[in-house]
Structures are given as structure tokens and as C-alpha cells.
């Protein structure tokens, strides 16, 4: 089973930047990523929101690893 890397792992940043090209299987993953996109879109002048988006993704995959493991693999390869 794939482990959820720590928030400091650079792959999370890549995921937030490039995740819109990913095709996720879980409805929850799609919605979670939409939230991250909205957070950045609505706060273009607040760089700290990028870390908040990383934290949202990390929390989601940590708590939903069982239903979103295939999406986690896709996210970490984004």
C-alpha cells in the first residue's frame, strides 16, 4: 500500500500546480481538488494559500487513503 508522504514532500506542490490534468476516479478527490483550485483563484495575491491547498490535499489523502489510493498515485505523479 502506498504511503501518504509528508506535507513537505515537493510532489504535493506539483500536484496543486498540475492536478487539473489528472483524471481521478473518486468523486471526493475531484471535489477536493476543485476546492484547492478555488482557494488559489480567489486569492491570487496570497502565496500562503498555496500551503493551505497542500494541507487540504494532504489531510484528504491521509484520511481517505482506503477509497482514494489509486487517485493518490495519480496525484503524486502529477
Amino acid at each position: 500500500m502506498i504511503e501518504v508522504p509528508p506535507k513537505s514532500d515537493l510532489r504535493w506542490q506539483q500536484f496543486i500546480k498540475n492536478g487539473e490534468n489528472c483524471t481521478f476516479s473518486s468523486l471526493a478527490t475531484k471535489m477536493m481538488y476543485k476546492r484547492c483550485q478555488m482557494l488559489l483563484k480567489l486569492n491570487p495575491d496570497k502565496p500562503e494559500k498555496f500551503n493551505e491547498a497542500v494541507a487540504i490535499a494532504h489531510e484528504y489523502f491521509t484520511n481517505n487513503k482506503a477509497i482514494a489510493e489509486s487517485d493518490l498515485k495519480i496525484a503524486l505523479a502529477a
Binding site: 468523486l27 475531484k30 484520511n63 477509497i67
Partner: protein, 333 residues
């Protein structure tokens, strides 16, 4: 198929068994049920064991999964909805019911995507409603623990799950947005938009829909990555130059027209799972436009609703969930 529709006497007996339930039915019947570990909402339309039915004499009761170890029932006003994720169990899921056209309904539609921790655990549920033939109809929810009928709050059943199980939510949405076509934006979040921007140009939404001869069975849609959220049309009010919707449009989102379906009922049915989900709900518009009265939607049963909730507020969809063994989910992925 398991039996989910009961008359009042049967329903009282089922509730008295002391298990945990999601309940749906007419207000007059819900108020006669015994207190217990259940939450409920008003509606006279159901997908039952024999197919779709409208009835003022039946109550739908779905027993929640036996893997639920602990639970808590809480109520939330519109201002308190953001606290829902704070009340999640560490491992679990939550069921929510919101009265249609109430303040919490608008607030959840507008703000749920911004609630801290909303995606930490699965949350699903429905928007309660009323008989569409009753112009005085009013939606309510019910806290079975306190025995209270509620018109202005959402009620949530938070559940803790056995650690070897996980809940997975999915939806049926046969609609696809025409993203190559017209863009629609709204200056304010509202149930009844009049002003809008069509391809960036100011316009009246009702006039626009009439001008393109829009089929009211088709929603407008906002994108969600590679899937979409529907916003459904109740009525084009040409007299007042506005459009009444079943769920609000949100300022800042871009909407598109839905592409026409080849066959509403068949396109919908072809996406339905072929197993008996642990719980499901289906939009009243699908019930009407698919002609589901007296017909089954594969093996899905549950209330017919004024809105569906799968993390966020949806419409013109069917939402369902299953509790599965973590080990099986890991093997599948």
C-alpha cells in the same frame, strides 16, 4: 431487495428496534414516530422495493450499516454549518438532511466547498421537500433523538466506523456540459437570477433561455474538474424576467449549458450501479423526467429529493454510498 417502505404501524415497530436509521416521509407521519437513533426529512416521493411511488401513507426507513460503532446527532443553523467537519468522528462518515429553500440550504450550496475539513470524511445526504402539487408545501427535517421537527436547521447524523471499513460515495449524473459553447456568469448567488453575463456580455437570464428555446429539463452546469455540478431550472418566469432554480447559482462560478440527452431515462439508468447500495437518494426531477413512478432504478432505493448531497450540494443526480472493507478497496486499487 430489502424492504424500505412501511406503513405507520410497521415504521413504529422498525424504529423501536433501537438501530440507527435514515428516515423519509410526510410530516404528518414522521411526527408520529417514536424517538430513537434516527434523522429524517419530509418528502412524499420514494424509490422503494417495488419502484418509484408517491404516497402520503408510507415512510421510508433505511437501516444504517452495522459497522457503525458510535454516533451523534447534531443540528446546525446556516451560520453553524461550517462547524460540521469539526464534529466528524476521527474515522467515520456523516449523513445530512437540509430543508429545501431554507437558509441552511442556500448557505450549504454557497459555502460548503470552503468549510475547513469538509473532505476529511465522507458526508452525504439530501434536501427534504414536499408534494409538488401542494403550493403551500414546506420542507422540514426531524431529529429523532429529540423528537423535534425543524424548519430552519440542517440535521446531521455523525457516525464512527469500524477501522477496517471505509465508506465510498458516488453519483449518477448523465449530463455533460457544453464547455465549447456559451459561458454564463452571475453577479450574485441566488435562487432566482435575472441579471447574468452571457459570454461576458450583460443579459437577462430568463430572456436568454427563452431566446435559445432552452429545454427546461436540462440543467446549467459548473465544472468540477472532469465532472460537473448541475443547477436545475424550476420555472422561467417571463412575467418577472427571472428564472426560479432548484439550487442556487453561485457568484464567481462559470456555468455552461448541458448537452441534450438522447434518452433521459435510458441515459440515467445505464449509469446506475447493479447492486443494492447501502443508501441512496434520487432527485425529484429525475423521478419526473425519467418517469420513475412504478419503475425501478436497478436496485437503488431511497428518498426522492429536492437536492442531493455528496460532500457538496448537487441536483438532478442520484447519490449512493457503500461501506466496504478497507482490504478489498486496497486490492481493487
Amino acid at each position: 431487495m430489502k424492504k424500505t417502505l412501511f406503513n405507520l404501524d410497521e415504521a413504529k415497530s422498525v424504529i423501536s428496534s433501537g438501530k440507527k436509521f435514515m428516515v423519509a416521509g410526510p410530516e404528518e407521519l414522521l411526527t408520529q414516530l417514536p424517538k430513537g437513533d434516527w434523522i429524517g426529512g419530509t418528502i412524499p416521493y420514494f424509490m422503494g422495493q417495488d419502484g418509484g411511488v408517491k404516497s402520503k401513507d408510507l415512510i421510508q426507513i433505511t437501516e444504517l450499516d452495522s459497522k457503525i460503532q458510535d454516533f451523534a446527532i447534531k443540528e446546525y443553523s446556516a451560520d453553524e454549518l461550517k462547524n460540521i467537519p469539526k464534529d466528524y468522528f476521527e474515522r467515520g462518515m456523516s449523513f445530512i438532511i437540509i430543508p429545501a429553500f431554507s437558509e441552511p440550504h442556500l448557505a450549504y450550496a454557497k459555502d460548503a466547498v470552503t468549510f475547513d475539513g469538509i473532505f476529511k470524511n465522507p458526508i452525504l445526504g439530501w434536501v427534504s421537500g414536499f408534494d409538488l402539487d401542494d403550493p403551500q408545501g414546506k420542507a422540514a427535517v426531524f431529529n429523532g433523538k429529540s423528537g423535534e421537527l425543524i424548519f430552519d436547521k440542517a440535521v446531521v447524523l455523525h457516525c464512527e466506523l469500524d477501522s477496517s471499513f471505509a465508506a465510498n460515495i458516488d453519483i449518477i449524473n448523465p449530463f455533460i456540459s457544453d464547455r465549447e459553447g456559451i459561458t454564463i456568469e452571475f453577479p450574485e448567488s441566488t435562487w432566482s437570477p435575472s441579471k447574468c453575463l452571457i459570454n461576458g456580455e450583460e443579459a437577462n437570464f430568463a430572456e436568454f433561455l427563452q431566446k435559445i428555446n432552452h429545454n427546461e429539463q436540462l440543467p446549467i452546469m459548473t465544472d468540477l474538474g472532469d465532472s460537473d455540478i448541475n443547477v436545475c431550472i424550476m420555472k422561467i418566469d417571463s412575467e418577472n424576467n427571472k428564472v426560479d432554480l432548484y439550487n442556487p447559482v453561485i457568484a464567481g462560478f462559470t456555468y455552461y449549458l448541458a448537452k441534450p440527452l438522447k434518452d433521459y431515462a435510458e441515459d440515467f439508468r445505464s449509469q446506475a450501479p447493479n447492486h443494492e447500495a447501502d443508501w441512496s437518494c434520487n432527485c425529484v426531477l429525475n423521478y419526473l423526467y425519467s418517469g420513475l413512478e412504478g419503475k425501478k432504478l436497478n436496485q437503488l432505493q431511497g428518498p426522492v429529493t429536492f437536492g442531493e448531497i455528496a460532500y457538496l450540494l448537487l441536483n438532478q443526480t442520484c447519490v449512493y454510498y457503500d461501506v466496504k472493507e478497507v482490504e478489498a478497496l486496497q486490492k481493487a486499487s
